[in-house]
Structure formats: C-alpha cells, structure tokens
C-alpha cells in the first residue's frame, strides 16, 4: 500500500458529514481527529474517530465556529490537514487563510476563491466576464418605464421589476405585457419608496417555474479541472433542498446540455482561480436555457448521488488534490451510469407543519439491501440535540433507471423505522407517489404546490382494525408493567443543570 497523502486529518464538523468524511479517511489509512461541543460528547462522529478534541459549549458560535479553538485542536493533535465539511466554517475565507498560515492544509479552495465567490453580485460579474449565461437583467437603476420597455423588446416578457433596496418581495412586480408596464412601474416604485425610502427599480427577466440544477466540479492546484455532471435539486422546502437526483430528468433528455453546463461552470470557476471541489448552481427554464446563480465553494450535502452515478469518491479526490497531487482523472474518464435519488431525513413532524422534533431515538431500523446508501449520524438511544440542524441521515439509492430508483426509494423508506421522534419519511413517500414528480416535471415551487394538492396519507382498508388489536394487546401486556416501572417525569433541562453543578 502506498503512503497516504496525509497522516492525520481533523474534521471541523459534526453530524453525518463528519462521519462520511471519516469513512473515506479510514479507507485511505489516514488518522481521524473529531472535534465536538458539549452537546456532541456522545455523537457518532466522536465515537468513530481515532482522536477527539472538545472545542466548546453547545452553541456553534462558541464551538464549531471558533477558528482559534479548532486550530489549537489541530496543532495539539498534529493534524496535517482540516476538512471543513459543509456549513459551519466551510465557506469562511478567514478560516481557510488561517489554516494555511498555520501550515495546515485546508481541504477546499483558496481563501481568495472563497472570497471572490462569496458575494453574489461579484460572482455574477465574474460569470458574465467568463461568458457564462446569467439571468438577463440590467442591475442599474431604471430611469423610467420606457427603459424597461426597451429591455422587454430585447428579452421578452414576462419580466420582473425589483426594488434596488428590496427584499422580501416588497417593491416587486411581475409584468406580462407592454400595456401593464406603466402602472406596474408606478406601483412597484411607490411601494419601494414606502418600504425602503428608495423608489429606485431595476429589471430582470422572469424565469417561470425554474429548475435548480447544479454542476459538480473538481480541480487540482495545477490548473486542471473537470466536471462530474449535474444534480437536480428542485425539490425544496423553505428554500432548503430536501430531495435531489442525478441525472436531472430535463438534462438527461437533452443531448449536449450536460456538456454545455459543465463547460460554462468550469469557465466561471477558472476565472476565480478555483481548485478542489465546488458546485456551480444554475436556474434552468422549461426550454432548457440555463443561467448562472452562484457558486458553492465546498462539498455539497447532496454529493453522494454524484458518487453513486459516476462511481468516484469525491472526498478521496478532495484529499488528493489538497495534498498537491495532480488530479488523476480526465474529463473523458467521467461516465454517468443509472440514476440516483437522495432524501434528507430530518427530525421534524410532517403532521404538524414540519416543526423540528428533537429528542431521544428509542428505536431505529435502517433500510438495507440492493442499491442503498445511508449517510447518517444517529443510533438507537441517541438524543438529537436541539442546537443544530436536525438532519438525521441522507438516504440515497441507485438503480438503472429513474423509475427503478423511485421504486427502490419507496421500498427503502418502508423499511426505515425511527421511533421516539418524528421524521419526514412519509412525506417523501407521498412525493415519490406523486404523478407530477414521476413525470419529472420539477421546479423550485414544486413542494409548495404539492402540499396544496396532496391527499391525506390514507391507510388501506382494514389496517385500522389491526392497529386496534395491536393497541389492546400492547396495553394489556405492557400497560401494567410500564406504570410500575415508569420513572417520574422530569425535565431534561433540569437534569443537565444538576449535572453541570456537580462537575
């Protein structure tokens, strides 16, 4: 076996992504260092690691976001590199710079690239300069409706008037024709004046029912960069992706589209001197036109579906290029095989407006069998902390075709049992049964529209009578014993408060 690229790597993260990164490190023969806050002492990433360092109290601002403490831990444990995962410090340019200054490799792009892609407007300018399509718009202040009319003649209706100082939909108007333009301009401008004390407007082409499609990139520090194709992430709730798939049903149906998007993404990333893994996000309209949205300068949550379809381990490649090695793959080495879908399983209650549902997992049965990949961080008896994102696991499946992957995901979700807390597992089953979803007619408002048309998750005839039998059986055999054994109800907060006092 050849010498590993690093001897020891610290993972500056928690939860499923810390576990996922550790798995590759272990396969590569690299030592693993976990960091943890008070809330995470018993979390899986700490249990799995070779070494672990406490970095502070539960709030992430006092632990996982503390650059000084994470670097101290890395030095103390003699880690040669730091993987930031996603979230927390992963897109923090100061952290990347501090790692390099401390002589520790940051497994990601340069601080400079993170900074340049961090501002949406600067990134848009960079995309324009690199010749990548952006949503057509004049981000300068409009002098009046006439200027918007000129824009409409070039790019067509519908268009969107937006307040320069805007936010939250205030001072925003959709315009479908010349006739509507004057009054829409007046309304938007006065609303902007009332809301922001600034009547200035700009104009943008309105992309109707856009899809969110992103391109996975990976480059080395010697100027070589390739793409790993797209992921479709249009299934979102409150602007958060909840379900992703690869390939995108739209892109798969259009020859040449993947290559065109891939090349555009590479051009933008190159112009920022980008290396390591990154993702370029595009809005895509129904006709297949794509527009640059932004670049995420880190490993994405949904990277496993790309790994399933291309067969490459992106974390392994990240480590190799972070160590300065040339990327050993050429574009022609990347091939896409079959179809993968991922569901983000959250501790939340789909029967109660998706409220977070932290608490103790009393029972856990995981889906197994052909084509299943489960990236999780939970175990039976673990308490989901209230302090962080309630993502429990990412369930991904692979199969030969999209239809088979949908069937496989439904099968896997039926096997998945989590008790003690609520999860969104049944919500995914309903989406996967939805005719619009099955037809691949996806867009970013899909979930909102789905929630309006969805039928209650109704049980087949006769199931309720079986439930009654079981309930009676359970009460008869468990009721008396439970009553005798049940400890008095106590507040968990009170208990942890007492433990704190005893330390």
């Amino acid at each position: 076996m050849s010498t590993p690229v690093f001897l020891k790597v610290l993972i500056a993260n928690r939860g499923e992504i810390a576990v996922r990164i550790m798995r590759t490190l272990r396969e590569m023969g690299i030592g693993t260092v976990a960091v943890f806050s008070d809330a995470d002492r018993t979390s899986l990433h700490v249990r799995m690691a070779d070494e672990a360092a406490w970095v502070g109290p539960s709030p992430s601002a006092e632990s996982y976001l503390r650059i000084d403490r994470i670097l101290d831990a890395a030095r103390h444990h003699r880690a040669e590199a730091i993987h930031p995962g996603y979230g927390f410090l992963s897109e923090n340019a100061d952290f990347a710079a501090a790692c390099e200054a401390a002589g520790i490799a940051f497994i990601g792009p340069s601080a400079d690239s993170i900074r340049r892609m961090g501002s949406k407007t600067a990134a848009r300018q960079m995309a324009i300069a690199a010749g990548a399509p952006v949503v057509p718009g004049a981000h300068d202040v409009l002098s009046g409706p006439a200027e918007a009319r000129t824009f409409a003649r070039e790019f067509g209706y519908p268009l969107l008037l937006k307040a320069v100082a805007g936010g939250g939909g205030k001072g925003m108007r959709r315009v479908d024709s010349d006739a509507e333009l004057d009054s829409a301009f007046r309304d938007a401008s006065s609303e902007a004046e009332r809301s922001f004390k600034n009547p200035d407007l700009y104009v943008e082409k309105l992309i109707e029912r856009p899809r969110h499609v992103e391109i996975q990139l990976l480059g080395d520090r010697h100027g070589h960069m390739i793409h790993f194709g797209e992921r479709e992430c249009s299934i979102q709730r409150r602007h958060q992706k909840v379900m992703e798939e690869c390939p995108s049903p739209l892109v798969a149906a259009r020859p040449g589209m993947r290559e065109a998007m891939g090349e555009a993404a590479i051009r933008v990333a190159r112009s920022a001197g980008y290396y390591n893994a990154g993702t370029v996000e595009f809005l895509v309209d129904a006709a297949g036109n794509f527009y640059f949205l932004e670049m995420n300068t880190r490993l994405q949550v949904e990277h496993p579906i790309t790994e399933l379809v291309t067969g490459h381990d992106l974390v392994r490649l990240q480590l190799e290029v972070a160590a300065g090695e040339p990327l050993r793959l050429q574009q022609r080495d990347i091939a896409w095989c079959g179809s993968a879908i991922e569901c983000r399983v959250y501790a939340e209650d789909p029967y109660n407006n998706f409220f977070p549902s932290p608490g103790k997992l009393t029972r856990l049965t995981r889906p197994l069998g052909p084509g299943i990949r489960l990236d999780g961080c939970v175990y039976e008896g673990w308490t989901v902390p209230i302090d962080y994102d309630p993502l429990l696991a990412k369930l991904a499946v692979w199969s030969e075709s999209r239809d088979e992957s949908i069937a496989r995901m439904l099968r896997a979700l039926r096997e998945y049992d989590v008790a003690g807390i609520h999860t969104n597992i049944t919500f995914f089953r309903q989406i996967l049964e939805d005719a619009e979803f099955r037809a691949g007619r996806l867009h970013t408002r899909f979930v909102d529209e789905f929630l309006e048309r969805r039928q209650p998750f109704t049980a087949p005839e006769g199931l309720e009578s079986i439930a009654r039998l079981v309930a009676e059986f359970h009460a008869k055999h468990n009721g008396a014993r439970r009553e005798a054994e049940a400890p008095p109800q106590r507040s968990r907060w009170l208990q942890s408060g007492r433990l704190e006092a005893l330390r």
């Binding site: 597992i425 079981v470 907060w493």
Partner: protein
C-alpha cells in the same frame, strides 16, 4: 374475526409486533402517547384510545375551551420573543411568544380569546418540551 384461528400477535422487539391475520403478515410499531397508544403500520399512523380507567383516568379532562388554558412549549428550545404582557386581552390566534429550536422560530398563538392571566416565559430563557409558558382565561 372470520379467521377461525384468529389474529396471531407476537412481540418481536420491544414495541414492535408481528401480526398474522388471514394469511397476511403485518408489522406494527407502537409508541405510548399522552392519552392513547400510537400504532404505526407501514408508515400509517393510528392514534388509538385505550379504554382502561386504571391507566388513563388521571389524564382525562385536563383540557377544555372553558376556563384556564395553559400554553406549553411544543419542543425544547429558547424563548426569543414575548409578544404580550400579563393582563393583556388577546384574540384567538394572536401570537403570544416565539420559541426557537434547531434554528427554527415557532410562534405560539392564543388557542382562544381571553386574558393573559399568567406569563412565566422570559426572553432568552431555555424551556423544556411541555413547560407551561403562559395561561389564558
């Protein structure tokens, strides 16, 4: 039951039952709820009330639209905003306070019109699930 042998129920794991009925196999998972037993079969959820006065009577009748109504935290979290003061008159559905957990803010609303007779919630305080934060009469 038409099946001469009747349903066969076996405990396979704590809280998990295997049911054989008319040649069909079902797996049921059970959780104890507040006033009921919650049974899950193939992802379908059934709340079944148990008619056993020894077990459940002490919980009965604790809630009603008449009289005093307690507002309890639905999940552990932190009170980020208190929107009313003790003694205020509130409409049904009016926001009383905001509790944050897992980066999500959740506005607790008045379940009925009335007067805020008790308000123990303080901004910044950590609360447990079920902890009473206010009462309306």
């Amino acid at each position: 039951m038409s099946d001469p042998t009747g349903p066969e129920i076996v405990t396979v794991e704590p809280g998990v039952y295997s049911v054989l009925l008319n040649g069909r196999s079902y797996e049921a998972r059970v959780e104890d709820g507040d006033d009921c037993v919650i049974v899950f079969i193939d992802g379908h959820r059934f709340e079944i009330e148990i008619q056993d006065p020894r077990r459940w009577s002490r919980r009965a009748g604790r809630r009603g639209v008449e009289g005093r109504l307690n507002i309890a935290a639905p999940m552990p979290g932190k009170v980020v905003r208190v929107l009313v003061a003790q003694g205020d008159t509130v409409e049904a559905g009016q926001g009383l306070l905001v509790v944050e957990a897992m980066k999500m803010q959740n506005e607790m609303k008045a379940p009925k019109a009335g007067r805020v007779v008790s308000l123990t919630a303080r901004e910044g305080a950590t609360v447990a699930a079920g902890e009473v934060l206010a009462a309306i009469e």
